[in-house]
């Protein structure tokens, strides 16, 4: 009965699996192709209002002609170097397996990594400006123009101390098939190239195919490589290999535990023949304004370190204080028509307010969390309609608009927040500032629109608790938050004892007196009885 989370979890996941299947079967009646749902305290999916609706779906064909960012003189040189005509303007055509998106918040520009076409496309967040095509990069060292080969990731950073406007924008591109990461300025001049480190710490047989790249404020470059399980490869600002950063932990499978057991009893030589337990490599990462790095691991089966928020020392600070880690994505995978559906988190975005969005490759869904990892909304899904996806690769968000990249549909879908979503976010931002009482108005509004919205109960409970209404707080927390209930009940119990202190004392006194009297009477009767038998 005490702290047996597994039973509850098993039951919860079983029920959630059933619910999820039934949700899949039921016909959609809303105007969205997906049904909004959320999880309640039991971990069961419950229908909920949608927080986001589809705004636009765009493909490369919607943008007509794009412009090369190279100058006339450069274009001439490129034509000479390549031996073919490179025009200043070119029809964008369809994207080809685009792999990454990046929004530069300082300039409101949107970068699309069009991997199949070996180019980077730049526009603004509302797609108003003409597209800029980046495909030829000038290398001052060789004095040649270089191209990309299947680029997978991009990161843009601003150096506001730079005098030159061109050099204040630094673009880092993970050039997957060229085995390098290039850093270039806005005009395409390469200022730094990161290639496979010759350091002996870097494994001899390990390749260097950069998948994603982020750069922190200090200029350290973190490169995510899918064949490395030790974490991201970290380069110092001068381009030298400095370390690995933020490896996942090893998943505690039965196999791993058994291996550990054998290793303790076998000799070192015998143990060496065992397969080493290796953690999952993470697939994608993002960095927020405070320098925390968020990683996600795309896996069908693993549950360890699916999502991490790491401080600069590489420690995950989102370790739950309780008995287990948080759950991300769908609570359970389910089996439907010969296919197992489960969450596989493939990308993460942290926006300017700290809201975390996880992109689920398995179900094509977006899971939106607060910076405290409280689930806000789930939207999107798998399919061919607008707002559904087949092969999601990247997510970015800006000013409450969410951009999702699909590499099979070759499209970017934008979601905009509904009124309900706005209210929840308003309440949540007040709540996270500790303004529980101010947040209670929006939370009430949330509950009138959607009484299934679990977190509203916690918000209202905290509001009542901060006002000293303990029993009301307990009512809100009941079957919604054990920690909250514990706090409210502690106060309530203290108040109850204090208010009824006289009654308690009287009862205790009466009981003591009664016991004394009873024992005296008993002795008296026993004596009498003994006297009688004599």
């Amino acid at each position: 009965m005490i702290l047996v989370p597994t039973m509850k979890k098993i039951a919860a996941s079983a029920v959630s699996a059933i619910m999820a299947v039934s949700m899949l079967c039921s016909s959609a009646f809303a105007d969205q192709p997906y049904e909004g749902y959320n999880y309640d305290w039991w971990g069961d999916p419950v229908p909920s209002q949608t927080g986001y609706v589809v705004d636009r779906v765009v493909t490369g064909l919607d943008f007509g002609v794009g412009k090369r960012y190279n100058s006339e003189a450069q274009l001439k040189e490129i034509s000479e170097q390549t031996g073919k005509e490179v025009p200043a303007e070119e029809v964008i055509e369809e994207f080809k397996e685009p792999q990454d998106l990046f929004i530069d918040r300082q300039t409101n520009s949107l970068y699309i990594v069009d991997s199949g076409n070996n180019r980077i496309l730049v526009t603004d967040v509302e797609y108003k400006n003409q597209f800029i095509i980046m495909d030829y990069f000038y290398n001052p060292e060789t004095k040649k123009y270089e191209t990309l080969k299947n680029p997978h990731g991009i990161f843009v950073r601003h150096d506001n101390n730079s005098l030159n406007e061109n050099e204040s924008t630094m673009i880092y591109i993970a050039d997957y098939d060229n085995n390098r990461v290039i850093g270039c300025y806005a005009d395409g001049t390469i200022f730094q190239t990161f290639t496979r480190p010759s350091d002996e710490f870097y494994g001899a047989e390990v390749t260097f195919q950069p998948n994603k790249v982020v750069v922190d404020v200090a200029g350290n470059v973190y490169v995510n490589i899918l064949s490395i399980t030790d974490g991201a490869v970290m380069f110092a600002p001068d381009g030298s290999f400095s370390n690995y950063f933020g490896a996942n932990r090893v998943e505690q499978t039965a196999q791993a535990i058994a291996n550990k057991f054998w290793r303790t009893i076998l000799s070192r030589e015998a143990a060496a023949s065992f397969i080493q337990a290796v953690p999952m490599e993470f697939n994608n990462f993002d960095i927020d304004d405070d320098g925390f790095i968020y990683t996600v691991t795309q896996s069908k089966s693993a549950t360890t370190d699916i999502f991490k928020k790491m401080n600069p020392a590489g420690e995950n600070i989102l370790i739950n204080l309780g008995y287990s880690d948080y759950t991300y994505g769908d609570m359970a995978s389910y089996y439907y028509k010969n296919q197992t559906y489960g969450s596989q988190i493939t990308d993460v975005d942290v926006d300017e307010n700290g809201t975390i969005r996880l992109l689920d490759f398995g179900n094509g869904r977006i899971f939106e969390y607060t910076d405290e990892c409280d689930l806000l909304f789930i939207y999107g899904g798998k399919g061919n309609q607008k707002g559904l996806f087949t092969n999601v690769t990247a997510i970015e968000a800006y000013n409450s608009i969410v951009y999702v990249l699909d590499s099979r549909k070759n499209s970017i879908t934008t979601f905009k927040r509904t009124e309900f979503g706005d209210i929840v976010h308003e309440a949540m931002s007040l709540y996270n500032l500790g303004k529980y009482e101010e947040a209670s108005g929006p939370w009430q509004e949330v509950l009138t629109r959607d009484s299934n919205y679990w977190f509203a109960y916690i918000g209202l409970g905290n509001a009542e608790l901060s006002q000293g209404n303990y029993s009301e707080a307990m009512n809100y927390f009941y079957r919604n938050s054990r920690a909250g209930y514990n706090r409210a009940f502690k106060q309530y119990r203290m108040q109850f004892v204090r208010d009824n202190f006289n009654v308690f004392m009287i009862i205790i006194l009466v009981v003591i007196i009664a016991l004394i009297v009873l024992s005296k009477l008993r002795k008296h009767f026993k004596k009498k009885k003994a006297g009688g038998t004599k």
């Binding site: 009965m1 005490i2 702290l3 039973m7 039951a11 009941y478 054990r482 209930y485 009940f489 502690k490």
Partner: protein
């Protein structure tokens, strides 16, 4: 000091609980096995398990009471108890056990009493304690379980006139016997279901044939 052993039947469980070793000897000597009292205890076992599911305070309640289903609780208590009794009897009669079904039933039921009492205490305490004070609840739970296990071993030992190692062995094998019994029960149930479906399909077939 000897107690007056001519007490009413309902007092025996409490007497036994207070005297884990000689209590059962007295019970056997006096032939004070009582089916009615045992049945009441088993019923209490069931009721307290239900209470534990629904009345344990929110802070300590880890059962999935969003959907309350009484059938698993019935299986966990009453059916489990009777399988234990039957399993133990059928095993121990083969191995020189002296106990009758009635004796095993009474002894097993009486042994549950400490567990039930501590469960009641735990249910009440879980409504007034905080999560930080969980140690009290854990203590009482383990106390109750331990006491009941000691009583059960002592009771089975006395009823069958076994040595302690033999008792423990018998109890382990009883658990195995219980698994077999339950397996056969499930098998039987599914077989009956098959037969029922077979009969029902013949019935519907005939109805289509003749009523049209």
């Amino acid at each position: 000091m000897r107690f007056d052993l001519d007490m009413p039947a309902w007092k025996w469980p409490f007497y036994v609980a207070r005297h884990p070793f000689e209590g059962f000897e007295d019970l056997r000597w006096k032939k004070a096995y009582n089916t009615k009292v045992s049945m009441v205890i088993v019923l209490c076992f069931f009721i307290i398990t239900v209470c534990q599911q629904v009345m344990t305070g929110f802070l300590f309640n880890t059962s999935y009471v969003k959907v309350f289903n009484i059938v698993p609780l019935l299986v966990q208590t009453i059916i489990l108890f009777f399988t234990w009794v039957i399993g133990n009897w059928s095993l121990c009669t083969l191995f020189d056990g002296e106990g009758s079904v009635k004796a095993i039933c009474s002894v097993s039921a009486y042994a549950l009493v400490p567990y039930l009492i501590t469960q009641v205490v735990v249910i009440i305490a879980s409504n007034v304690l905080l999560t930080g004070e969980a140690a009290f609840i854990v203590f009482f739970q383990y106390l109750g379980i331990l006491w009941s296990v000691v009583l059960m071993i002592s009771g089975i030992k006395t009823v069958h006139q076994y040595s302690i190692p033999k008792t423990l062995l018998a109890m382990v094998f009883t658990v195995a016997a219980m698994v077999i019994i339950l397996f056969l029960l499930v098998l039987l149930l599914s077989l009956f279901q098959q037969v029922y479906i077979f009969g029902f399909s013949i019935y519907t077939e005939l109805m289509y044939r003749f009523s049209l």
